[in-house]
């Protein structure tokens, strides 16, 4: 598990809103780091820092939605909770389609915000765990030899050893040996597990 504590990053240009959010989160014993503008946040952003974002939609300079897009480009997975003083359904739908985690209208009940923050933080933990998982799979994949990789691909397509041997032009015995190495290196207990690993790292559309 990660050592860094989870931080809620609050980005809002209105001083009173920003400061009151800081205090609210503090009163719920959640670590908070406030920023007055999108630019300020992006300059300080470190992908290794776990947590979530509470982000105002309408700000001078870069708006909340623009910042979300920028984060998408950078491949950031930090969950974003949008807050807005003037929100309508089209705006909410657009934010969600851009990948926002949640969307909340000001003023809100403290419990509303805190619930969503907790959920967002949990989601962030999940994301990071999954990322670590797939990272590890990829690490293991990288240790396979080219032939081992070929065997892996064919086997996870459902082909029997005999077929694989035929495809590769080697003996069935060779295939069995490669297969054993693959299972070991990939730390897979069964073919099903191996298949799941491959699905996990398969490129998504």
């Amino acid at each position: 598990m990660k050592d860094l504590p989870q931080t809620v990053f609050v980005v809002d240009d209105d001083d009173a809103v920003r400061d009151s959010l800081r205090l609210l989160l503090k009163s719920a014993e959640i670590t908070c780091q406030p920023f007055a503008s999108a630019q300020d946040f992006l300059s300080a952003y470190d992908a290794a820092q776990p947590g979530c974002l509470v982000l105002d939609v309408r700000m001078p300079g870069m708006s909340g939605l623009e910042m979300q897009q920028e984060l998408n480009l950078r491949g950031a997975t930090l969950p974003v909770i949008f807050i807005t003083g003037h929100g309508d359904i089209p705006m909410a739908v657009e934010a969600m389609q851009l990948g926002a985690f949640d969307f909340l209208q000001k003023p809100f009940r403290d419990q509303e915000l805190l619930d969503r923050v907790h959920r967002a933080l949990a989601r962030d933990m999940d994301n990071r765990a999954r990322l670590r998982h797939t990272d590890r799979i990829r690490e293991r994949l990288a240790t396979l030899s080219p032939r081992e990789r070929e065997v892996l691909d064919l086997v996870t397509q459902g082909k029997a050893n005999k077929m694989v041997a035929g495809d590769l032009g080697v003996s069935q015995r060779t295939v069995e040996i490669h297969r054993a190495h693959v299972m070991q290196k990939m730390e897979a207990g069964s073919l099903a597990e191996l298949v799941r690993m491959m699905m996990a790292v398969a490129p998504r559309q």
Partner: protein
């Protein structure tokens, strides 16, 4: 020719009228040349024959009777009076003559002289005259204006069809009635009388104009614009007046309708402006409310902790009241903008007015990723204005300015502004003019107005915006105009547009 001297006969030959002398038995004893021409007989053929031959069959018998009666001592039906009679030409055709008959004095037995005047010419002339009169009548009646002629006393002598229709006279006889007493609406009679007198006394040829109401026979009042001239005789003495009137009742009604419609549009525009600002207002109000909610709820939580952080809590409570006041300020300003439409002109400090509306304008600025600069000269003289309306004009101008600049770079989308390193700047400035009045200007660094637009920018419905109504500037201009000022445009330096107006300063009396 027995009994008539040659001198007389010579006279007879000279006259153009036909002259026939007859004896007491009706026998023609003289027949002048004109008679020859008139009847187609030579004198030699007419002499001695009965004058009957000149008459139509219808009259023949009657003539004998008249003669007999006269000679019998009866009433001379024909002597001394002239009358139209039909007579007969030698060729049988009949025609009219005007006949007067006289007894030749000192003739015994009596001889009678008849003068016959060819009335066909006269008839023709009369007919022509009649036709012309009818034509003139027609012209009078076709005229779209009302025509009324009266004598000096105001007695109606002529009215045309239009006048009859407007006054709904029907078959009633209006001729001979007094114009002012019968047709002018009671309240307007003094005015009409004055105008009438002025007309009669007016020595120039120029028509005099006067507007007043007439009252139709059903009691409906119509508002008429009258042009009058005096009618004069050959000695230039006014004999009466001729009035030509145009019924402008509907026009006036339409004008006041248009004025009311403009008032309504004014309020619609205000609503539209408000609609455009709704997003900003909503946002503005929700900020302090959110802050209050967060602070208060945070305090509640903080107090539940084992060691409440007192400085934080008291700081938060101060913020709560501060934010509540902020919200109140915003609401007050919004309310001042949607207040009722009574025009209330009051002495105001223009800089104060501008600062009042600044919060709302600044919100609009933020939406457009811009800055609103205030460049207000202090200690300006006060002005008498309707503050609400002036603020509305400012909102319109500032909003336009931001839109112009945003338009340059592309559509401003909800929540997503187009980035421009420089940012937009719109400046509201106040300064005193040389005359001591107050100039207010709103300038931007946008594209300014190109040629054609500069002329047309204040026209209603003219707009350079893809979704503009084109009403904002027209209404702003009319508001400024109502303040005895003018909304103008000039190019801004180094670029962009500048809309300005100059409000008259209130002259403070030193006491």
């Amino acid at each position: 020719m027995g009994g008539v001297s040659t001198d007389v006969l010579a006279l007879l030959e000279a006259t153009l009228d036909a002259v026939v002398i007859m004896d007491d038995r009706g026998r023609i004893s003289a027949f002048n040349r004109s008679a020859e021409e008139m009847f187609g007989y030579r004198a030699a053929d007419a002499l001695g024959r009965n004058v009957n031959m000149l008459m139509t069959s219808a009259d023949r018998g009657a003539h004998d009777d008249h003669l007999r009666r006269y000679l019998g001592g009866g009433e001379p039906h024909i002597l001394g009076k002239g009358r139209d009679v039909r007579v007969r030409h030698r060729d049988g055709s009949e025609f009219s003559v005007f006949l007067s008959v006289g007894r030749i004095p000192n003739t015994e037995p009596p001889q009678f002289v008849g003068y016959l005047h060819d009335t066909s010419l006269r008839r023709k002339a009369l007919a022509t005259l009649e036709r012309e009169r009818q034509l003139n009548r027609l012209y009078l009646d076709l005229a779209q204006v009302m025509l009324v002629a009266t004598d000096r006393a105001g007695t109606i002598q002529l009215v045309n069809q239009r006048a009859v229709r407007v006054l709904k006279l029907g078959d009633g006889d209006i001729m001979g009635r007094n114009w002012i007493d019968s047709c002018v609406a009671p309240d307007d009679r003094p005015v009409a009388r004055n105008a009438f007198r002025a007309l009669l006394m007016n020595s120039s040829d120029e028509p005099l104009t006067c507007d007043y109401h007439v009252r139709a026979s059903d009691g409906e009042d119509r508002f008429i614009t009258w042009r009058g001239v005096a009618l004069r005789d050959t000695d230039e003495v006014a004999t009466g007046v001729l009035l030509s009137g145009e019924d402008v009742t509907d026009q006036r009604r339409a004008e006041s309708e248009a004025h009311r419609a403009l008032e309504r549009m004014n309020s619609v525009s205000r609503l539209a402006t408000m609609g455009e600002m709704a997003a900003g207002i909503s946002h503005e109000l929700n900020q302090p409310l959110a802050a209050i909610a967060n602070y208060a709820q945070a305090c509640a939580r903080l107090l539940r902790l084992p060691a409440p952080d007192m400085p934080e809590i008291s700081g938060a409570l101060e913020q709560v009241s501060g934010q509540a006041l902020r919200a109140g300020e915003i609401i007050r300003r919004i309310r001042s903008l949607v207040r009722n439409e009574d025009v209330r002109r009051e002495l105001q400090d223009i800089n104060e007015l501008i600062r009042d509306v600044h919060a709302l304008l600044a919100s609009d600025a933020r939406v457009h990723d811009g800055r609103l600069e205030l460049d207000l000269t202090p200690a300006l003289p006060r002005v008498t204005v309707d503050g609400v309306q002036i603020q509305q004009v400012l909102m319109n101008l500032v909003h336009n300015a931001f839109e112009a600049q945003a338009g340059e770079l592309g559509r401003v989308e909800r929540g997503r502004e187009v980035r421009n390193g420089a940012g937009f700047e719109v400046r509201i400035a106040t300064r005193p003019t040389e005359g001591g009045d107050v100039e207010v200007s709103v300038s931007d660094l946008g594209p300014g107005l190109a040629g054609d637009a500069e002329q047309r920018i204040f026209e209603p419905f003219f707009t350079t915006k893809p979704t503009g109504t084109g009403l904002g500037l027209a209404i702003s201009r009319s508001i400024i105009k109502a303040h005895d000022a003018r909304l103008g445009y000039r190019a801004n330096q180094p670029r962009g547009a500048c809309f300005f107006f100059v409000l008259p300063a209130h002259l403070e009396t030193t006491q």
